[in-house]
């Protein structure tokens, strides 16, 4: 049986750190190494930052779910911010470093599986999986 933890967070910058702590703690419970906990913490924080930066109003909440399974941790970050066109996402380029666009790139680098599902007019779900070695 998987354990499911659910959080609902107002879209304010100051609460991203709260999610970071909560998810680190859940990853610790799930038995991940210090380095893996750090990866999970950074990835989830980036996903939340994206929500807060792009769209959500401070009154609106977004949701973070952590599913602790025997061999993996699945994290789902869901917002209702209207979505975006994932086809238009450009990977950052070192020759011309720019300020935005790093978040998704970092998430993909740190997690084992990443799925982004965005529905224009509705919102975005980012599902991230990290396997216990």
């Amino acid at each position: 049986m998987a354990d499911l933890l659910k959080f609902s967070i107002p879209g304010k910058p100051e609460y991203v750190g709260v999610v970071r702590l909560a998810v680190s703690s859940a990853a610790n419970c799930a038995g991940f190494s210090m380095e893996a906990i750090e990866d999970i913490k950074v990835a989830v924080s980036e996903a939340c930052t994206n929500v807060v930066l792009h769209g959500t109003t401070e009154e609106n909440c977004y949701e973070v779910e952590c599913k602790i399974e025997k061999d993996k941790l699945i994290i789902l970050v869901t917002d209702l911010c209207g979505g975006y066109d994932t086809e238009k996402y450009l990977e950052p380029c070192l020759d011309k470093p720019k300020e935005g666009g790093l978040g998704i790139f970092i998430i993909r680098a740190l997690m084992d599986e990443v799925d982004i599902l965005s529905k224009l007019g509705e919102g975005t779900k980012i599902q991230m999986v990290k396997y216990l070695l």
């Binding site: 100051e14 950074v42 924080s45 470093p97 300020e99 978040g103």
Partner: protein, 103 residues
Amino acid sequence: MMSLQIVSSFDEENDHWKIELSGEIDISTAKIFRETLEKVYQEKQKDISLYFDQLTYIDSTGLGVIIGAYGKMKEKNNRIQILNPKQNIKKLLTITSLDQILL
């Protein structure tokens, strides 16, 4: 706990800004970080050294601030660099290839 402390001073001997950071740079503290960099650089257009010894966390918004400063400073032939990052931050710099321009 989740705040950011910044101590800036101009090092006359080495002719650069020394900025010591402790705590966390994320979406809630990136603005004050950006304002500090802009303020010191406006005061004196010299190289900037960011001392990361006591910094425990930085995210893409914090890295974005540094990239922004890097671009503006490069036009004027000034350099911004990161010194003594912790292992977790070094990993992030490597993943993003920013180590090649900032370390």
